[in-house]
């Protein structure tokens, strides 16, 4: 982002600084910290300190009752040799690959459609955004009903059309695609809103200029709209990948990580290690691995976007 010129008044330098002036200066220095204090306090209490504590616990054997027992890097060694950890990682990557590009592309299409003068435009925008506002447990429960083998609306529809029923959530092959479809339903609204805002901030004069030069609608989209949507695309990419990597509630409600381990994601595996088999140390080690993974992705994307900006 390029900085805009800022007009400031510089205080006249004086060797005899009065006490009141010094106090005012110090207060001016303190004010920004005062503004960010609530955020910093909450972040420290609920994100930063627990993170440090998780690193500490990951080197221990701890059931939550009694004292943690130091075991060095044994939790990490176990993780590297644990086929379930790798399965959960593969599932997480597969889920991200299934949800991120599709939700962004569909969100963009919807945003383009709803950026025109359409009847009931606001109503449609709210409708697509609705699943995101509702708790994931509620959307998950509704989706589990829709996908239900016995009385779900999807299977009822298939039977009406003469097709056979699909075991959406109880077949190891269909469970992940069903979750991806549900995630699309939830995430498309968010992508749409971000893209809508970005579309509306593109000045019309670019399109006018392109039209005068004889650019077709498709050409305008490729060479005007898409490049100017880059910051929004980058933001959505980072947010969507992070969301996909730490998805939990939707899957907990819909499949519980099953059938078998076909929908066990990393966060499911952390939950299971921590609260089903009471292995806090191991759960923390997997948590740190997930943290490193998300951090790595974010840094990579950050670098890529910085480079892209420099080229432009």
């Amino acid at each position: 982002m390029r900085g805009s010129p800022v007009i400031t008044t510089l205080p006249a330098s004086s060797t005899r600084r009065t006490r009141a002036g010094w106090r005012a200066g110090r207060q001016r220095g303190l004010v920004p910290y005062l503004f960010i204090a609530p955020n910093i306090t909450l972040f420290t209490a609920f994100s930063f300190l627990p993170l440090i504590y998780a690193v500490y616990i990951s080197f221990h054997d701890w059931t939550l009752i009694g004292e943690p027992n130091f075991i060095g890097i044994r939790n990490y060694l176990r993780m590297v040799h644990d086929p379930l950890f790798w399965r959960a990682l593969a599932n997480t990557l597969l889920y991200a690959a299934g949800t991120v590009p599709t939700s962004m592309a569909t969100g963009l299409l919807l945003a383009l459609a709803l950026n025109r003068r359409l009847p009931a435009r606001s109503f449609l925008r709210s409708l697509y955004f609705l699943p995101l506002v509702v708790s994931a447990v509620a959307t998950g429960t509704i989706a589990a009903w829709m996908f239900n083998d016995n009385y779900g609306v999807l299977n009822a529809l298939l039977v009406r059309l003469g097709a056979s029923r699909i075991s959406w959530l109880s077949s190891p092959y269909w469970a992940l695609p069903s979750l991806v479809l549900t995630t699309l339903w939830v995430r498309v609204g968010f992508c749409m809103v971000v893209y809508l805002a970005a579309l509306q901030s593109i000045p019309q004069m670019y399109y006018e200029a392109a039209r005068i030069d004889g650019a077709s609608a498709l050409y305008q989209f490729r060479h005007v709209t898409l490049p100017l949507l880059k910051p929004a695309t980058f933001l959505l990419l980072v947010l969507s990948i992070i969301y996909s990597f730490h998805v939990f509630d939707l899957i907990y409600v819909m499949t519980g990580g099953g059938p078998g381990f076909s929908t066990t994601m990393l966060v499911q595996y952390i939950f299971r290690s921590a609260f089903v088999t009471s292995e806090m140390g191991y759960a923390s080690a997997v948590g740190i691995a997930l943290y490193a993974l998300i951090l790595g992705f974010t840094v990579l994307q950050w670098r890529a976007s910085r480079q892209a900006e420099n080229v432009m």
Binding site: A144, D149, Y151, M254, G258, P259, G260, R272, T277, S278
Partner: protein
């Protein structure tokens, strides 16, 4: 067993029974309040579980325990004694449709709020729970054995894992838990 009712699925078998999709259910006494309230179109009753050479049953629920590192072990023990006293357990199980875990109460006629005649069969079936099962379920490491059993049986019922493999995996996993 239908894959959709496996342990990890979100399907509530009691719903399928209450709405008439399935005709029989391996269910628990705690489901009686739900059935009384929701199964309005059909009548239901309880019988003993299928048997071959011997009868047995499963055991579930939550355990009450005092941590070894507890600072106030005496107070905690007093509280546990209070919770499991005959009088309190009678009040709890009769109001909430649960089975008593005091042998003294199992031999008494308990005034259950709902379907007392069905509860009698549950109490009778509970007598067949073998002692070694009680000892296993109340082990502190049982949660790990339980997770291994849930995983392996789920793989068998939903993902086509054959029974010999399941038995072999369970043997390996349970031995690992016991050895750790």
């Amino acid at each position: 067993m239908p894959p959709s009712t496996s342990v990890k699925s979100s399907e509530q078998t009691q719903n399928l029974f209450a709405n008439g999709t399935i005709g029989m259910l391996l269910g628990g006494d705690w489901q009686i309040p739900f059935l009384q309230q929701n199964m309005t179109k059909y009548k239901w009753d309880v019988t003993y579980m299928p048997r071959d050479v011997a009868m047995a049953s499963d055991l579930g629920g939550n355990c009450l325990a005092i941590s070894r590192d507890s600072k106030n072990q005496d107070v905690a023990a007093d509280f546990l004694k209070f919770i499991v006293s005959e009088e309190n357990m009678r009040a709890f199980v009769t109001a909430a449709q649960f089975l008593p875990v005091r042998t003294g109460l199992m031999n008494q006629e308990l005034a259950y709020a709902l379907r007392p005649e069905a509860m009698k069969i549950y109490v009778e079936q509970a007598r067949t729970i073998p002692d070694h099962l009680v000892r296993t379920v109340t082990m502190p490491i049982f949660s790990k054995i339980n997770a291994a059993m849930a995983d392996e049986l789920d793989l068998t019922f939903t993902s086509g894992q054959d029974p010999p493999t399941t038995a072999q995996n369970l043997d390996t996993k349970i031995k690992a838990v016991l050895g750790s």
